[in-house]
């Protein structure tokens, strides 16, 4: 399998801030590769290095077989990039935006229409509308169409689903999956852990370092302890109470419940007595499967 991105030992500093520390990874042709991490983890910086917008201080970045420093001119013809802020011209209409990006990349909308038709058909009824007047979901679809219009070999999407409603997010992922048939490699970042499951492979990134790279399922399975889910009517009190219980290793809020791990991977009745003493008498604790987020938090703690 061909490598689309090969990064080795990438480091980048902005003044005193170390944005990326010795990052190495590879992305295979045709896969959807996700970078999962909180804000400020270094995702955008990394993407800018991949797209030749920034040069790394150290390390080498090879994209589509070209060095991102020396081969940037050739490379720029073959990358589709969607920055974190949808870079659309707000005062141009949907159609004009798309036409503009098509001409700039030396192609026409008709030439690659089949590639974007799935996505673009959603917004085509509004093609005379100014991009600034579109909803978040529609902006995102237009930005994706613009980034795809020249049939790039590599598509780089920086937080494409941030600020987009749940339905649009789900539709967006369906579209990305469909792009696989055109053999377009996709690199994207997201702060949403649930989206990680839809990637072929993910890299967990935190503080400019990659914590782990693997298939999402494998990352989940990497969780080293047995995970339990605790629920009570008073969630905040429950967390506090669980953290004071001597057998508890970690206790994190997770949705409407609390994820807990114990030293011996099991619990007995003494915990309910402890909770009752703390004023919580309706707690239910069951074993549960770890999610990527749990694994992420575990890795973060180790790092």
């Amino acid at each position: 399998m061909q490598k689309v991105v090969e990064a080795s030992g990438i480091s980048k500093k902005f003044g005193e801030t170390q944005a990326l520390k010795n990052i190495s990874f590879e992305v295979n042709e045709g896969e959807i590769f996700g970078f999962i991490g909180p804000d400020g983890a270094g995702k955008t910086t990394l993407f800018r290095i991949i797209t030749t917008l920034l040069l790394p201080d150290e390390g080498e970045m090879k994209v589509l077989g070209l060095n991102s420093k020396t081969g940037f001119k050739e490379l720029r013809k073959n990358i589709g990039y969607m920055p974190g802020r949808f870079s659309l011209y707000q005062d141009l209409s949907v159609e004009e935006n798309l036409n503009f990006y098509a001409t700039v990349f030396g192609t026409t909308v008709n030439e690659n229409y089949d590639l974007i038709s799935d996505i673009y058909s959603h917004i085509e009824p509004f093609k005379k509308r100014l991009a600034g007047k579109l909803s978040g979901g529609m902006k995102q679809k237009l930005a994706l169409s613009c980034a795809l219009i020249h049939k790039p070999g590599l598509l780089v999407l920086d937080e494409p689903t941030t600020g987009v409603d749940a339905v649009s997010r789900s539709e967006f992922w369906d579209m990305l999956k469909k792009l696989k048939q055109y053999n377009i490699t996709i690199i994207l970042s997201t702060p949403y852990m649930d989206e990680a499951m839809r990637c072929d492979r993910v890299a967990l990134i935190q503080g400019g370092q990659i914590l782990s790279i693997d298939k999402p399922q494998k990352i989940k399975e990497g969780f080293s302890k047995k995970l339990f889910r605790a629920k009570a009517s008073e969630k905040y009190g429950l967390i506090n109470a669980l953290r004071q219980y001597p057998e508890t290793v970690t206790a994190y809020p997770f949705g409407d419940s609390v994820h807990v791990t114990f030293i011996n991977d099991k619990f007995d009745n003494s915990i309910f007595m402890h909770l009752k003493k703390m004023g919580i008498d309706d707690a239910i604790i069951t074993e549960t499967e770890a999610s990527i987020e749990d694994r992420f938090l575990e890795l973060m703690k180790k790092a």
């Binding site: 720029r76 870079s87 011209y89 707000q90 005062d91 141009l92 001409t103 700039v104 030396g106 980034a147």
Partner: protein
């Protein structure tokens, strides 16, 4: 090429979509010219003139009758000696005094020439210029009649114009050249720097950089529409000043337009340079307004004559390109001089342009930092 044209088309769309840009582009120049047009009234009707006829002969009488019967002037007073001139001008009712020299008629017949002096109140420079121009024209007309009727060799009345209070009439009839100078640098520098920094601010620059567009194409694509529109602006201002005040271009129109193009190019490259050093629109506006507009108004000689400034401001103004364009445009429009009189300034503007372009190309980043 197709890429480039696509880019230019997009720029035009930006300009025509944005109401404010259009206002700045065409509204402000029009408004400025019209405001000046109404403030500076060009109509002369029954302006009071006094006569000091030291000759009192047939010809001087005939000429003064001709001046007063034109409808532009009204004989308000007759003076008898030079001392009265200052007194009567100070009263302000009289706009000009016309003096016939001693033996006016006899000189004209015996020596074929006689002198007529016009003393105008220079504290109202525009009126003064107009009055002297009108009188001079009437005298020229009179000369023609003389030649026709006498048939003899050319007999000439030579009008001698003198301004009281503001002898050079400096800086005042300058508003059209001044407005052109100001408007062009404002539009070109401000608009190009803002449109480039806008791309930076909205993040679209990131995508443009990742595209195969070359920096030269991005810069030229940004500059081209403004170059065209600014050129249209020059023509618009010239037409307006012609129709509103009848201010003609005395020198070569082609030369004037060519020099304007050079100045536009210079201002545009300055705008690009500003955009390469500023990362936000606000910064670009600040640099263009404070850095360009105020010095242009105050120091370019547009309003305040450079000759009257302290030396240090003179030096400061010598690094301001508008200063040279004011000289060029003044020479061509008002004095009607040719290229020989403005080649030095033209050369300086060219050097400015080359330096700005050079610096911009060097500063333009093909990456984000």
């Amino acid at each position: 090429m197709k890429r480039f044209l696509g880019f230019v088309k997009k720029e035009f769309l930006h300009i025509f979509r944005d109401f404010r840009t259009l206002i700045i582009l065409f509204g402000i120049p029009t408004a400025q010219i019209l405001i000046f047009g109404f403030v500076v009234s060009t109509d002369i009707k029954d302006a009071g003139v006094a006569f000091l006829d030291l000759s009192k002969d047939e010809i001087s009488q005939k000429l003064s009758d001709k001046i007063c019967s034109s409808g532009f002037f009204k004989r308000t007073e007759d003076l008898f000696n030079y001392n009265d001139i200052n007194k009567i001008l100070k009263r302000g009712k009289i706009k000009a005094v016309i003096i016939f020299e001693k033996n006016f008629g006899r000189n004209l017949i015996s020596e074929n020439k006689a002198t007529l002096s016009i003393i105008a109140d220079g504290s109202e420079p525009n009126t003064a210029t107009l009055i002297t121009n009108y009188i001079t024209a009437i005298v020229a007309d009179f000369n023609r009649e003389l030649v026709n009727t006498s048939g003899a060799g050319a007999m000439l009345v030579q009008p001698e114009v003198r301004m009281f209070y503001n002898p050079g009439l400096k800086s005042h009839f300058m508003f059209v050249p001044g407005v052109i100078t100001l408007i062009l640098i404002l539009i070109c520098a401000l608009m190009t720097s803002v449109t480039i920094t806008r791309e930076k601010e909205f993040g679209t620059m990131e995508v443009l950089l990742v595209s195969p567009l070359r920096p030269v194409q991005i810069i030229l694509g940004k500059v081209m529409p403004y170059f065209l529109l600014s050129f249209i602006n020059v023509i618009l201002i010239l037409l307006l000043s012609w129709f509103v005040f009848g201010l003609p271009v005395k020198g070569s129109l082609v030369l004037l337009l060519a020099e304007s193009m050079l100045y536009i190019l210079m201002s545009l490259s300055l705008g690009i340079l500003i955009s390469t050093v500023s990362s936000t629109m606000q910064q670009a506006i600040f640099i263009s307004m404070i850095g360009m507009m105020l010095p242009t108004i105050l120091l370019s000689g547009f309003i305040f004559p450079i000759e009257n400034m302290p030396k240090i401001y003179d030096w400061v103004s010598s690094i301001l390109p508008p200063r040279y364009f004011v000289v060029i445009i003044k020479n061509i429009m008002i004095k009607g001089t040719g290229f020989l009189y403005v080649w030095k300034e033209t050369l300086i503007l060219m050097v400015f342009t080359a330096v700005f372009i050079g610096l911009s190309v060097r500063n333009f980043k093909i990456r984000l930092e």
